[in-house]
């Protein structure tokens, strides 16, 4: 197990972990607040920066997950075969995430398409096609 590590070294690793995970969390929250325009007036991550932001957050989280599994759960000290028998099935989730997020996006696109067709039908509302919520009230005249 941890036979090759002295007790003092083990204790050090634990408090190193506390500092590391805590720091990453603070950085994550600060970046999140910055990205939403809470920290600096007028600075907000949109467009391409939003994707950078998402990748950054996912990266931080994956690193935290790696640290917890390898050091707190001692995966680093298990034999290789055990490591793979746990990690390999989990890697299949990468496919699931890509597939289902794409599917979700396609639901949205299809719904928008149906909405568009519905509103531009020639038999539709003579005032012209306007994207409005169904509970819209138009002023008379």
């Amino acid at each position: 197990m941890e036979g090759h590590m002295s007790y003092e070294e083990q204790k050090k690793l634990v408090f190193y972990g506390l500092k590391l995970l805590g720091t990453i969390t603070i950085v994550e929250v600060l970046v999140a607040l910055l990205a939403r325009g809470h920290l600096i007036e007028g600075v907000e991550f949109t467009g391409f920066m939003h994707y950078v932001y998402m990748a950054l957050m996912a990266g931080f989280s994956l690193y935290k997950a790696y640290f917890i599994v390898y050091n707190f759960m001692h995966m680093a000290h298990e034999v290789k075969s055990l490591r793979w028998s746990v990690l390999l099935p989990t890697l299949l989730l990468v496919w699931a995430i890509i597939a289902f997020f794409q599917e979700g996006n396609s639901w949205k696109e299809r719904r928008e398409r149906v909405h568009e067709l519905h509103h531009s039908a020639p038999t539709g509302d003579a005032t012209g096609a306007v994207d409005e919520a169904p509970d819209t009230y138009r002023l008379p005249g």
Partner: protein, 324 residues
């Protein structure tokens, strides 16, 4: 020394028969191995929930922003502190993970009292986390009116201006004043419209009584439909959109509440069961039963694996619900 050669021979023999039963090829005990595989299956359950969240969120035109939904902190109800409380909850969980590692380390050294001390501290962390979650849920449900099928949090898709009572009356709306659940309620109906929920327009007032009449907003701005706890009515604020139409705040994506409560609830349930297991393990450790087994308090190690997993899941719950 019985000679190194003999020891090496024995190791060699063990390697040869490693896959023929009788001992673990993974050099881990049965209990630990099964805990690992339970955690793998549990990870898939959580992944299923979180992927469902992602798919539904991708399929929605708008989604409430976490820094608007989670900006409340206890005791200072008027202070806006986006993500502060949930960061605190995350710290509590990280700290309890650290105390758990310490308990496992003391267990390895067969230090019974040390292990008990750190186990109890871990339990305290778990309980603080659960209480914080209880407060968070109470705020969302009892104060803001989020349920598993109604979500008053959303974002504007257009720019516009909130309307006052005089504005609405000037535009031909009919003012209605009546008692609902013994409390006077005021709302506006389009001329000639029936008095049903779909037709009711309200002057926007938030939970603190601040009026929004005349306030402008842009597309993408967050809002919360006010719920009136005396009349039990959601009061969607009336506004004039850029196109000149009079609209009222639409409810946000319906799945938001259900996903939030099911996923954080499922995680909270794991924390709760973790605290129960920790209690049992702490009592057993204190009784000295694990000490007599002379296996380095392996039971503490197994519950440790579970507890770290709960922290691990929170990393991802925190990511998808609060950061993205």
């Amino acid at each position: 020394m019985a000679s190194e050669a003999a020891v090496l021979e024995q190791t060699h023999e063990q390697d040869e028969h490693l896959w023929e039963g009788g001992k673990s090829p993974f050099k881990a005990s049965y209990g630990k191995l099964m805990m690992w595989y339970f955690l793998v299956s549990d990870a898939f359950t959580f992944a299923g929930f979180l992927i469902a969240y992602g798919a539904l969120r991708f399929s929605s035109e708008t989604w409430p922003l976490a820094d608007f939904v989670f900006e409340k902190i206890p005791f200072f109800s008027h202070t806006k502190a986006p993500l502060v409380f949930v960061t605190f909850m995350t710290f509590v969980l990280i700290a309890s993970s650290v105390t758990m590692v310490r308990a496992v380390q003391e267990g390895h050294r067969e230090n019974k009292n040390g292990a008990v001390k750190w186990l109890v501290l871990t339990m305290v962390g778990g309980l603080i986390f659960l209480s914080s979650q209880a407060w968070e849920w109470t705020t969302l449900i009892a104060k803001e009116g989020v349920t598993i099928h109604t979500n008053p949090f959303s974002r504007h898709i257009d720019e516009g201006t909130y309307l006052s009572a005089a504005d609405l009356e000037g535009m031909g709306f009919t003012k209605v004043e009546k008692n609902v659940h013994g409390t006077p309620a005021t709302y506006f109906l389009p001329a000639g419209a029936a008095d049903i929920e779909e037709n009711r327009y309200f002057v926007k007032v938030d939970h603190f009584g601040n009026s929004f009449a005349g306030k402008e907003f842009k597309a993408g701005d967050s809002y919360l439909i006010t719920i009136n706890h005396d009349t039990h009515m959601y009061e969607p604020g009336a506004y004039k959109s850029a196109s000149g139409a009079v609209l009222k705040e639409a409810f946000g994506p319906r799945a938001f509440g259900a996903l939030f409560f099911f996923i954080t609830g499922f995680h909270g349930f794991h924390v709760f069961s973790g605290v129960c297991f920790l209690t049992i393990v702490a009592i057993n450790t204190a009784s000295g039963i694990y000490l007599r087994r002379r296996n380095g308090h392996e039971m503490v190690e197994k519950i440790g694996l579970y507890w770290h997993f709960v922290d691990l899941v929170w990393v991802f719950v925190f990511l998808v619900f609060y950061l993205l």
